[in-house]
C-alpha cells in the first residue's frame, strides 16, 4: 500500500510518495495540505513502486489545486509514464463554449421558463395540428404528394394486422365486465342484467377505449419510432430540401389510415366484448342463452353504438397526431427515438382520456 508523507520546511511542503499506489485513496490529503498553508509544494516520486490511475488522479487534482490557489508546484522524480500522462491531462483545453453551459437559474426564472415552455409547446402543437389537417384535406382530394403504397402499407398495419389483438383483448374485457357485474347484481338477484351491462358498457365506451389504448401502444408507438428513425437517418432533412412537405408525405397517409381503421376496429371490439360477456353469462352464470340475448338485444341502442364509433373516430386523430408529432420532433439519435416513442404512447393515452371526458360531458349536456 502507498503512503504520502508530508513534511513542511520554510513554507515549502514536500509530499514524499512511497510504495504501491494501486486503487489508492486518501480522503484527508487536502485537509492536511491546507492546514500547512504552504506557498510551495514539491512532490517527490522517487520511491513510487507501482501506480495506476488513482495516483494520476491525485497528482492531477493536486496540480489543479495548486494552480487555482497560486501555489508553486513541482513534480520531481516521477516515473516516466506517469509524468507524461499528467502533462497530457493538464493541457489547457483549446476552447470551451462557455456560453453553452446553462447558467444557474433562480426559482422565478424557472417558473417563467416553464410558463414560456408551455406556451411555446402549445403554439407548436397547434401549428402542427393545422399543418396535418391541411395535408389530410389535400390527401383526401388526392392533391398531396403522398404515395398510395405508403397509405396501403399503413392501413394494413392499422387495420387487418391489429384485428387479432383487438379481438383478444376486447373478449377478455367483456368477460371481466360480466364477472365483476355479476357479483354485484347477484345481491339483487338480477344476474340476468349482466347482459344489459356488458352490451351498453361495451358499445358506448369500453370498446372504443380498449381499441384506443391498444392502438396507442401499437400503432402510435410505431408511427413515432418510424418517423423518429427517419429523423435520425436525415430522411426528413432530405424531404425538406426537396421541398416535399413531411406532413403530406408522412403524416397524412398514416392519419388517414388510422382514422379510417378505428371505427371499424371499434365495431370489431364491440362484437368481441359482447361475445365475452355472453360467454360468461351463458356458461358460468347459467343464464339461458335465449334470455341473455333477449336482454342484450333490448339493451342495444343505435345511439350508444354511434357514440362508441364516434369515440373511435376521434381517437384515430389523437393517436396518429401524437405519434407523428413526437416522431417529427425526435432528436437525431437513438435515445431521442426511444423518448419520442414513450412520449407518443403516454400522451396518446392521456389525450384519449381527456377527450373521453370532454365528449361525455358534452353529450350528457346535449342529452345524447
Amino acid at each position: 500500500m502507498g503512503d504520502i508523507i508530508l513534511t513542511l520546511q520554510d513554507k515549502t511542503l514536500t509530499l514524499t510518495l512511497k510504495g504501491n499506489f494501486i486503487d489508492f485513496e486518501d480522503g484527508k490529503l487536502y485537509q492536511n495540505i491546507a492546514g500547512y498553508l504552504p506557498e510551495n509544494i514539491i512532490i517527490n516520486g522517487l520511491e513510487i513502486n507501482k501506480w495506476d490511475s488513482s495516483l494520476l488522479l491525485i497528482l492531477f487534482n493536486l496540480n489543479k489545486y495548486a494552480n487555482e490557489n497560486n501555489i508553486k508546484i513541482e513534480n520531481l522524480y516521477m516515473p516516466q509514464g506517469l509524468i507524461k500522462m499528467l502533462k497530457l491531462a493538464l493541457v489547457v483545453p483549446e476552447h470551451i463554449n462557455r456560453e453553452t453551459m446553462p447558467a444557474n437559474e433562480s426559482i422565478l426564472e424557472k417558473i417563467g421558463g416553464f410558463g414560456l415552455n408551455v406556451w411555446q409547446n402549445t403554439l407548436k402543437g397547434t401549428i402542427f395540428m393545422m399543418t396535418c389537417f391541411k395535408s389530410l384535406w389535400l390527401f383526401i382530394r388526392r392533391k398531396s404528394s403522398a404515395r398510395k403504397t405508403d397509405f396501403l402499407f399503413a392501413f394494413e398495419e392499422c387495420g387487418p394486422n391489429a384485428m387479432s389483438i383487438v379481438a383478444l383483448i376486447s373478449f377478455m374485457v367483456g368477460l371481466i365486465l360480466a364477472f365483476v357485474g355479476a357479483i354485484q347484481l347477484k345481491n339483487f338477484g338480477a344476474q340476468v342484467f349482466v347482459a344489459d351491462l356488458v352490451t351498453i358498457g361495451t358499445i358506448r365506451i369500453m370498446g372504443a377505449i380498449m381499441v384506443g389504448i391498444i392502438m396507442a401502444g401499437r400503432t402510435g408507438a410505431s408511427f413515432a419510432a418510424t418517423i423518429g428513425s427517419m429523423q435520425v437517418n436525415e430522411e426528413i432533412d432530405a424531404l425538406k430540401t426537396m421541398g416535399i412537405s413531411w406532413a403530406e408525405f408522412l403524416v397524412a397517409p398514416r392519419m388517414a389510415s388510422l382514422v379510417i381503421a378505428m371505427p371499424f376496429l371499434t365495431m370489431w371490439a364491440d362484437f368481441f366484448g359482447i361475445s365475452g360477456g355472453a360467454f360468461v353469462g351463458i356458461l358460468a352464470l347459467d343464464i339461458p342463452a335465449t334470455e341473455y340475448f333477449n336482454h342484450a338485444f333490448n339493451a342495444w341502442s343505435m345511439k350508444n353504438f354511434w357514440v362508441g364509433i364516434f369515440h373511435g373516430f376521434i381517437f384515430g386523430f389523437i393517436i396518429s397526431l401524437c405519434g407523428c408529432y413526437y416522431g417529427i420532433n425526435s432528436s437525431k439519435n437513438a435515445d431521442g427515438v426511444g423518448i419520442a416513442t414513450t412520449k407518443a404512447v403516454v400522451s396518446s393515452v392521456v389525450w384519449l382520456i381527456v377527450a373521453t371526458g370532454i365528449i361525455t360531458f358534452v353529450f350528457e349536456r346535449l342529452g345524447i
Partner: protein
C-alpha cells in the same frame, strides 16, 4: 463574375448560441467549394443554413443573386429545385427502393412520363455506378453505395448546386478517391457547382478549387480561397496545422 452563392454578414447558430459570426463568402459558378474546419466548428450547421433547413440568426445569403431569406415560399421552392443535397448517411428513404428514391423528385417536379422517369432513374443510378441496383432497399446495400445512391437522387433534377456533408466519412481510401473522381466529373461535365463539407485533407487538395476555413476559437471565417494557395500562405498557425497535421505531430515527437 456573378457569384452562385453569396453569404453576407451571416451569424449562424442555435437559439441564443452563436457558432459562426459575420460569415461573408462567395461561391463562384462551377467551383468545388470546400467548407473545412475542426470538429464542432459549425460546418454542418453552415450547410443546414445554406440548404434552407434553418435560418441564419442574422444576415442573408443569396443564390443566383436572389435573397433566400427574404424570398417568399414559392421562390424558395424554385431555388431549392436547383439544389441537390447528399447527406452524411445518404438520407435515403428506407421504405423505398433505390429507384423509387431517385424517382421521387422527378415525379414531384418534372412532367416526364412514367416510362421516361424509369429510364432517367436507371441512367442516374448508372452514372454513380449502381446500374442494376434499382430494386434494392437502402438497408441491403453498403455505406459507400448508400452515398452514391444518395448522390444519384441529388442529381435527379440536374441541379445547378450540389451540397455534400462529409462525403468521404466512413469510406475506405479507394472508395473515397472514387467518390472524389465522380464529384470532379460531375463538376466538369455537368457544370455543377459543388459545396463540400469535409476534413479529408487528400480530398481538399485533390478537388477543391475554392474554400473557407471556419474557426471555432474566434467563431469566424479564418481563411478563404484556393486550398493550395492557403497552404502556401497560411493566415495563422491553426490553419497551417489543420492543412498539414504537421505541427501537432512534431510537438509530440519532441
Amino acid at each position: 463574375m456573378k457569384s452562385k452563392i453569396a453569404a453576407k454578414n451571416m451569424d449562424i447558430g442555435y437559439e441564443k448560441k452563436v457558432i459562426i459570426k459575420n460569415a461573408t463568402f462567395e461561391v463562384n459558378n462551377n467551383d468545388i467549394f470546400i467548407i473545412m474546419g475542426a470538429s464542432g466548428c459549425g460546418k454542418s450547421t453552415m450547410l443546414k443554413v445554406l440548404t434552407g433547413l434553418m435560418p441564419p440568426l442574422k444576415g442573408n445569403f443569396y443564390i443566383d443573386d436572389i435573397d433566400y431569406i427574404k424570398a417568399d415560399e414559392q421562390t424558395k421552392l424554385e431555388i431549392m429545385k436547383k439544389v441537390g443535397v447528399l447527406y452524411q448517411s445518404g438520407g435515403l428513404f428506407s421504405s423505398m427502393t433505390l429507384a423509387e428514391n431517385v424517382a421521387l423528385p422527378l415525379q414531384k417536379y418534372s412532367s416526364y412520363s412514367k416510362k421516361a422517369i424509369d429510364d432517367l432513374v436507371s441512367l442516374k443510378l448508372a452514372l454513380v455506378g449502381l446500374d442494376g441496383y434499382n430494386d434494392y432497399y437502402p438497408s441491403q446495400i453498403s455505406g459507400g453505395m448508400k452515398k452514391r445512391a444518395g448522390l444519384a437522387r441529388a442529381l435527379a433534377l440536374d441541379p445547378e448546386i450540389v451540397y455534400f456533408d462529409e462525403p468521404s466519412a466512413g469510406l475506405d481510401p479507394l472508395s473515397s478517391a472514387r467518390l472524389d473522381n465522380l464529384m470532379q466529373d460531375i463538376n466538369q461535365n455537368l457544370k455543377t457547382t459543388l459545396v463540400v463539407v469535409t476534413h479529408e485533407l487528400s480530398s481538399i487538395f485533390a478537388i477543391g478549387t475554392n474554400s473557407i476555413f471556419l474557426d471555432a476559437k474566434t467563431k469566424t471565417v479564418k481563411a478563404r480561397g484556393n486550398p493550395a494557395q492557403i497552404l502556401k500562405n497560411p493566415p495563422n498557425e491553426d490553419v497551417y496545422n489543420f492543412l498539414t497535421r504537421g505541427k501537432y505531430d512534431e510537438k509530440r515527437a519532441e
